[in-house]
Amino acid sequence: MSEKEVKNLEEIFEAKIARDEKIEPKDWMPEKYRKTHIRQMSQHAHSEIVGMLPEGNWITRAPSLRRKVALLAKVQDEAGHGLYLYSATETLGISRDEMFEQLHSGKAKYSSIFNYPTITWADIGAIGWLVDGAAIINQVPLCNTSFGPYARAMVRVCKEESFHQRQGYEIMLTLCNGTEEQKQMAQDALNRWWWPSLMMLGPTDDASTHTEQSMKWKLKRKTNDELRQQFIDQTVPQADILGITVPDEDLKWNEETGHYDFGKIDWDEFWQVVKGHGPCNKERMQTRVNAWENGQWVRDAAMAHADKQADKKVKQAV
């Protein structure tokens, strides 16, 4: 293709996005667009899958049958989100196996929040309330992103995430209406999950790299700092209803701005976890790799069986 032709295609592409039309897998797209989407979408898929682990940690110990069923269903939803996102990413010309390979080798990232341990039942409430809550704030704008398969996946995923969020909040509410011991459990969980949840919305705008390009492609509509403010403004009143305290001494309502002011985020901790040195990075990766390696013979068997069946069909046809 000549330079002129490429230029032409680029213009058509940009115009399409500007008109709010979706880019579909078969459409021409700049290589950078493809790569950026593979990176972001696979990272999102990995987050769903790794995110199953901290919550799955409480399936066998859920405190009631009702909670057990709800937790199983939630973790199953996350697996569904992963599956859906991997499939959407595959339309860009990468296989699921390749994506797993990138996850297992550490080349691909996943949301850092899942590198924190779930040590009490209240953590299951806190994750639903805060982590699914922050995920929704990140993801709702993506329902209108430019890449069609991603936008459609997000519409479906967001519906389920808001259900998870309410369910998590309801766990917290039950704890906070319970005994002193239960209320303390809820407070302790908020103390541990609050700051990592704020970090989930990404580095501050001045430290964030891809923002401008992402805005143009509608991979992003608001900056990380705007999203973080939105999350805080929405979540603090919810903590008030629960009657537990957000662990930030500098947190206070600002009449003038109409937002909450909040304290300094420990970005050193954030980067430490991103770089692989959080409390559970090693465990999470080991678990994923083990599941994959232990499953190899199963996947091989399924493949071999399918081949044999196909052979039989061919023979019958002859």
Binding site: T60, V75, Q76, A79, W121, E181, G295, V298, K308
Partner: protein, 251 residues
């Protein structure tokens, strides 16, 4: 009328679903593929749903003020009446599938017969559960065929699992005193009559999967009388952790 036999009869059925559901719950997030992960979690979900129906009914029948959770979480090991088969650990995927397959075929026959019970609540539960269990049976039977007629390695692994788990199958067809009473009352299913069909159906699938049907003289039993394997205590330790640590609280 003293409903004690009926409550025990219900435990005998529901505990199988409870303990197998618990075992499957251990696998979530660790499956060989995402699709399998979703499927085993789904089966676990179905089983716990069934457990809730049974235990809510049993709680109603009880003269004591108890809930489904008291029944599920606060009995001693000797009071759980599940068969030994379902408490066997997830040694590898072949054991997971072998256990599921050997149980599903029984479960399917049991629920089919339970639809004829004189107890309308049990009939309703059976009808609803049967749809789910038909799916479980298809899932596990399909995997038996894939693993049996897959690679050399998978064949050997699933054969080992079937051979090992076979000793627990006979217990499925035993009747406790309470079961016998339930049968006499026209409520319970005489599981001893399901045995022949069960082994015939299971053998058919195994043969299709190019696997050997084990021949065994000696079988294990005990679960139905509350005498469990050494694995059971650890399973219960996990399952009862919250209820034991924080007695009397609402969650």
């Amino acid at each position: 009328m003293n409903k004690d036999f009926l409550i025990k009869y219900i435990y005998g059925i529901a505990d199988n679903a409870l303990i197998l559901g618990q075992r499957l719950g251990e696998l979530t997030g660790h499956g060989p593929t995402l699709e399998v992960d979703i499927a085993t979690t789904n089966i676990s979900l179905d089983l716990f749903g069934q457990v809730r129906s049974y235990f809510q009914y049993a709680a109603q029948l009880s003269e004591k003020e108890i809930t489904e959770d008291d029944i599920a979480f606060l009995r001693t090991e000797r009071e759980y009446l599940n068969v030994l088969l379902v408490e066997q650990p997830n040694r590898d995927f072949a054991f997971v599938i072998g256990r599921q397959f050997l149980f599903d075929h029984f479960h399917f026959l049991l629920l089919t017969e339970m639809q004829k019970s004189h107890d309308q609540t049990l009939v309703a539960i059976a009808k609803k559960s049967l749809k789910e269990v038909s799916y479980h049976k298809r899932f596990s039977s399909d995997w038996i065929k894939r693993l049996g007629d897959g690679t050399e390695e998978s064949k050997q692994k699933i054969q080992t699992a079937i051979d090992d788990l076979w000793r627990f199958t006979d217990e499925l067809f035993h009747l406790t005193e309470d079961d016998k009473k339930a049968v006499e009352e026209g409520i319970g299913v005489d599981v001893s009559k399901l045995k022949e069909t069960y082994y015939k159906n299971v053998a058919e699938i195994l043969e299709e999967a190019t696997l050997e049907v084990p021949e065994l003289k000696y079988f294990q039993e005990g679960g139905k009388k509350g005498i469990h394997s050494e694995h059971m205590g650890y399973l219960l330790t996990d399952m009862q952790y919250m209820q034991r640590t924080y007695p009397g609280m609402k969650w």
